[in-house]
Amino acid sequence: MAKTAHLKLEKLAKAPSGITGLDDVTFGGFPRGRPTLICGGPGCGKSLMGLEFLCRGALQYGEPGVLMTFEETVDDIRKNIASLGFDVDELVRKKLLAIDYVKVDRQEIDENGEYDLEGLFIRLNYAMTQINAKRVMLDTVESLFSGLDNQAVLRAEVRRLFYWLKEKGMTTVITGERGEGNLTRQGLEEYVSDCVILLDHRVYNQTSTRRLRVVKYRGTTHGTNEYPFLIDEDGIAVLPITSASLSHKTSNERVSTGIERLDAMLGGKGFYRGSSVLVTGTAGTGKSTLAAHFAAATCKAGERCLYFAFEESESQIVRNMGTISLDLSGYIKSGQLKFFTARPSLHGLEMHLALMHKRIEEFKPATVVVDPISNFASTAEERDVHMMLIRLVDYLKNKQITSVFTNLTSGAQAKEITDMGISSVMDTWLLLRDIEINGERNRGLYVLKGRGIQHSNQIREFVITPKGLDLRDVYVGAEGVLTGTARLAQEARERGALVVREQETRRKQIELDRKQDALNAKIAAMQAEFEAERERVLRDIQIDQTREKVLDEDRQAMGKKRGEDKSSRSSGKGKR
């Protein structure tokens, strides 16, 4: 117990920068009470990073800061900070920020004999005590070296300055211009041994990407990779996006694809939530249409969808989908559907990735559509695109965002090879292909892969009608798959055959009925004959009986006349 407490004390205290993502990369921020060097070439954003560190420190962490600027005037700084969305005058008024512009002009300064930089110390100290500062930024202390001659004194004094700031417990950011073969021109990294951050602004294929790397961070762990970062109206955002783990949660929930029949093909329920879906196909096979249906289905389910379009503008997509009865404008108005359109060549890959992250963080969508990813291949190396997509997919999976990526494959390519070889990171892969038969081109769709889904393995014809998308069964016969008019002809033939069959059946039924009738008639006739016979026989019987009776009566009457006794007659009668 005591030991852990001790260890905790040993742990390096950090001052959060408040800059998005940077504190993740540095695991907490800059070393508290120590100097941090931010270096990089011109225009790499080092001053802006320092400024944001000061402003966020003041506003978010209650640590007032002093900015000592050697290059830009207070007015310039005001504008710079305003571009980050902070109001300098208010910060200064609230004593959260003090700015001191130190002008180092070689023209105005004559050196004569011994001197030191105590004046700088006094000014800094004055500013620090005025606002009870906890943070300091020196931008760029190297200007001193060009303004003054006595390098030996300067080096000693700069070293003393850093010690002094450390002694004062200031969390300090020092910016330094990148030099030849060195991190900084004047070798400031020799003095600042605690934390060094290198910013880079690289141009590749005419697109630029900003990157950040923690070169050194003494006494603590830190991310060692190069991380892309971006500068926009919200300041700097570093994106620690190199996900190495495959530990994202998986969901059993399903989301609809927006096409009933496709849902049916995918085990009757659609995609898994949080899964990644790849839709590949040659030109004009309906990839975007499929993606738009998915987007609409998301909105219909009351969730949000973020649509990154790299080929078409928002209005164009809305118009095009309108022609197949898919109205997206309502969802855009309700804020459920958001488009981000840009040409892939607008930024470098990392920048795109960074922007996508940022927008996803902001919008918090349930589903994301990227249409298409193949366009990136035109701006960067295949391997880089591959890496970027893996990172994007990992990120989306971690966020449990279902994603649909469309990918244009060229006709000459083997269909099951994607440009970027990214199929392995995708959970579900829908393949749209054209089927050329009988002088026409039709669309076919099948599910090439569906991790964890009992999917159909049949090709469906993918029909785009003015009423929307439809999937139809295709005919597989001796001539192969029948689609389009061939399928229609087949359907007609089948319909014809059906009619014939129906007529035949009806005819048979009638014949049967007739036979039944005939039989019934026969039965009736025989019945009648029988009845007649019975009648006759019964009548004969009656006649006989009547005759007997008459004879008996005659006998009795004769007996009476003969006078025979009653008993003998009656007994005689009984004996008979």
Partner: protein, 130 residues
């Protein structure tokens, strides 16, 4: 040696302004800021930080040089930034000691203890560039 907020100047008989001037060292001394330089008086400010050896050397060097080359037409104001740190930014002081020539214009800054006489004279435009 006395470095206590003293400013000394020696009058020349010819000068309109009479007696040896004694300026008090205050922030933004009006006399120094706005004084006309028609009279050819050198208005100098020496910024120091406490009585360090460098400060003392600078002051004594300055005084000596002024006496020698600007006798009677100079005013020196010594500002101790330890006492008045807020004055450092106004004159863009970063190195100490710093001598600021307020007048005659243009404004000049010489940093260091003024041990180099030739450099001082050139810096003060008392001697052409070598």
């Amino acid at each position: 040696m006395n470095l206590k907020k003293t400013t000394k100047g020696k009058d020349k008989p010819k000068e309109r302004k009479a007696a040896p001037t004694k300026t008090t060292v205050r922030a933004g001394d009006a006399a120094l800021e706005t004084g006309a330089d028609a009279d050819g008086v050198y208005r100098l400010r020496l910024y120091v930080a406490g009585q360090t050896p460098k400060s003392l050397a600078a002051f004594s060097n300055l005084k000596k040089l002024c006496e020698e080359y600007l006798a009677g037409r100079y005013k020196i104001e010594v500002i101790d930034l330890v006492e008045n740190p807020q004055l450092a930014a106004g004159d863009q002081i970063l190195a100490l000691p710093t001598l600021v020539r307020k007048l005659p214009s243009p404004l000049k800054r010489i940093i260091g203890n003024l041990s180099d006489k030739e450099k001082f004279l050139v810096g003060m435009d008392l001697k052409p560039q070598p």
